[in-house]
Subunit: 131 residues, 2 copies
Amino acid sequence: MLIGELSEKTGLSRDTIRFYEKKGLIEMPKKLRRENNYKEYPETVLNKLNLIIKVKELGFTLNEIDTFFELWGDEDASCENLVFTLENKVNQVDQQLGRLRQLKERLNESLQKCRSSECEFEKTIPSCICK
Amino acid sequence: MLIGELSEKTGLSRDTIRFYEKKGLIEMPKKLRRENNYKEYPETVLNKLNLIIKVKELGFTLNEIDTFFELWGDEDASCENLVFTLENKVNQVDQQLGRLRQLKERLNESLQKCRSSECEFEKTIPSCICK
DNA sequence: CTTGACAGTGGACTATACTCCATGGTATAC
DNA sequence: GTATACCATGGAGTATAGTCCACTGTCAAG
């Protein structure tokens, strides 16, 4: 199929598909062209793009997805590698959650100070933030 | 003081200070120069940079900080505006927390499938992610 | 034939927060 | 004088994930 059809089937823009191709996430051998040099995208590329979409939804970056494919994009792919990859991402998310919780605490501390009239401005600098 | 001293006192690089100045976060009137055209940064700029550092630690972007200063960078500044600003940021953080929690759930769902041997590869596509 | 849509390629742009590079001037120590 | 560090300015580069622009070619419909 041509890129327009692929775009429609995946919901990705043509530019996005070209971007992924340029980035190496999908591969098109030179011979997969029509006579007018238009690219004939095979079903495998459609499948791969759908996978990219799903994996991106799970919070993976394009670079991570690239590494992802290297790890288990072969015929020998197994769920062991995948478990490892997913566990790593869960860890990342946990760390982010931790950081956000801390940030929220700090914000609430400053808020408390502000609300309790302890806050004052010294030379446009609010004490609830700087002390 | 010169930019090197300011850099040392704030922990920010010279380039970062110049970047903030270019971005308008700190202001240097043209007349605050030495005879050799070197900039003479007053104490107020040091104070402001320290505030920027603190506010960035609270999760605000530089653009947000810019708006921040407009709201309560005047002599009439009060904690009312500040409370509003901080509450908004807490809300943002809460939303991010929500998104991350959902993401974690989805990851754990895929992980569960993977671990339970329900997972299989169809044409390099793992079913735990695509089904 | 003309027009409009589609396809291809390469490059620039967007947003964010810096960081690096190039060039030229200033000041100090050897 | 030389070397080194500091200062100034402007512009490019980095990372990420696209998006837009310019140009050329192809194809189908009017």
